[in-house]
């Protein structure tokens, strides 16, 4: 059945055909992705302290990629953005590319702060004991009831 005219801004009315098969398929895809994420998260928990740094980081990156896949399916199918005309898709998606710069720049900044603090602005070398110490501000503020 087709949607009756809802707005003069819609030049070509979409034909809403087909059943709910695609919706359920995406539901199972999202569930499977979530279960894989949970499995990887549990792997990190169970093996905590026994994994090489590189393994931990790459597992976290894989979890991040699975999350982006979930986001794609939600936006494209559940929000029907994939069924819209290209102009609308681009006006929404292109600005979000800013996030690439946003994430890289800020996380690098946070990391740089940590290194500066650990080495007192580069004036001493980093030690493991230094890393194990709680942040000074946390203790001071934690004291205040």
């Amino acid at each position: 059945m087709s949607t009756p005219s809802s707005s003069s801004e819609i030049t070509f009315h979409p034909q809403h055909t087909g059943g709910t098969k695609r919706i359920w398929k995406i539901f199972w895809v999202l569930s499977a992705l979530t279960i894989i994420e949970l499995g990887l998260g549990y792997f990190l928990y169970a093996q905590h302290g026994h994994l090489a740094y590189l393994v931990v980081i790459s597992t976290k990156i894989v979890i991040g990629i699975l999350t982006l896949m979930k986001a794609y399916y939600i936006v494209s199918v559940f929000m029907h953005l994939g069924d819209e005309v290209r102009n609308l898709i681009m006006t929404i998606v292109v600005p979000l590319v800013l996030f690439v710069w946003f994430i890289i720049a800020f996380l690098a900044d946070g990391n740089s702060w940590k290194n500066l603090r650990n080495t007192n602005g580069g004036s001493r070398t980093y030690t493991e004991q230094e890393a194990a110490k709680p942040a000074p501000a946390a203790i001071e503020k934690g004291d205040k009831k």
Partner: protein, 245 residues
């Protein structure tokens, strides 16, 4: 599922028609959601920046390991998985409501809107339990040589690195930012869920009163659906940043 039949080579920018082939309301809903995505993105990136700038952050598997009625059983990830599946399920019922709206099936829309509202309320209840558990749950912390009992709040973070004290391992205070970010971001998301539930209730009442049948289309259900799916979308990232990594 929808397929749009439009002639190839349509000139979208020559005037006389919307280049987005969508109603004003729907386009504006998309722009609102885009700006909201930047708000949430800024919050989460700010959280990431602070987390990257300290040597020790709270381990989510230790903080979020409780389940209602399970006592002190150590169940990492369990409760938050339940919350995630509740939200995914309510997203599915929402998209089914939109689908019934396309078919002009009022009874179907009503049924799926009710299920979506129930899902939203279930999610909020879970969050209320989780917050209560964190704020009131006592956790032993070593503060200036004294053992104190702390909950997780905006001002206190009992999830710092563990040290040996009188022959046993005990937590020290962690970075104070943890509570602020956790309660701030999940609270902002929870408020979105709450307003989504209110919007869905209004849409349900309007469906029930036959407003959309009179109007001849169920586009309002689609717009409410966009907002609801966005809330689910944000949770996917909150779930990633706070609970998984």
């Amino acid at each position: 599922m929808s397929t749009t039949t439009m002639p190839a080579g349509t000139k979208w920018w020559t005037g006389g028609k919307s280049p987005f082939n969508a109603s004003y309301g729907k386009v504006m809903m998309w722009y609102f959601l885009m700006s909201d995505a930047f708000t949430f993105g800024a919050f989460l990136i700010s959280y990431g920046t602070i987390r990257f700038s300290v040597n020790n952050w709270a381990d989510p598997n230790h903080v979020f390991n409780a389940f209602p009625f399970a006592g002190h059983a150590n169940l990492p990830l369990a409760f938050v998985s339940l919350m995630t599946f509740i939200l995914i399920a309510s997203s599915v019922t929402m998209v089914l409501a939109v689908h019934e709206g396309h078919n002009m099936n009022r009874k179907g829309v009503e049924k799926y809107m009710i299920l979506t509202i129930i899902g939203g309320i279930a999610f909020l209840s879970c969050q209320a339990w989780e917050w209560t558990h964190l704020i009131t749950g006592d956790h032993a912390v070593l503060v200036n040589g004294q053992v104190e009992s702390w909950g997780t709040t905006m001002a206190k973070n009992p999830w710092g690195p563990e040290v040996m004290h009188n022959g046993q391992l005990i937590s020290t205070p962690g970075p104070i930012a943890f509570g602020g970010y956790f309660f701030g971001i999940t609270g902002f998301h929870g408020f979105h869920v709450l307003s989504g539930v209110v919007i869905n209730i209004i849409m349900y009442i309007k469906t029930k009163l036959g407003h959309f049948d009179e109007r001849g289309h169920y586009e309002m259900i689609e717009k409410a659906g966009l907002y609801w799916h966005f809330v689910d979308l944000v949770w996917v990232f909150v779930f990633l940043c706070f609970y998984l990594v």
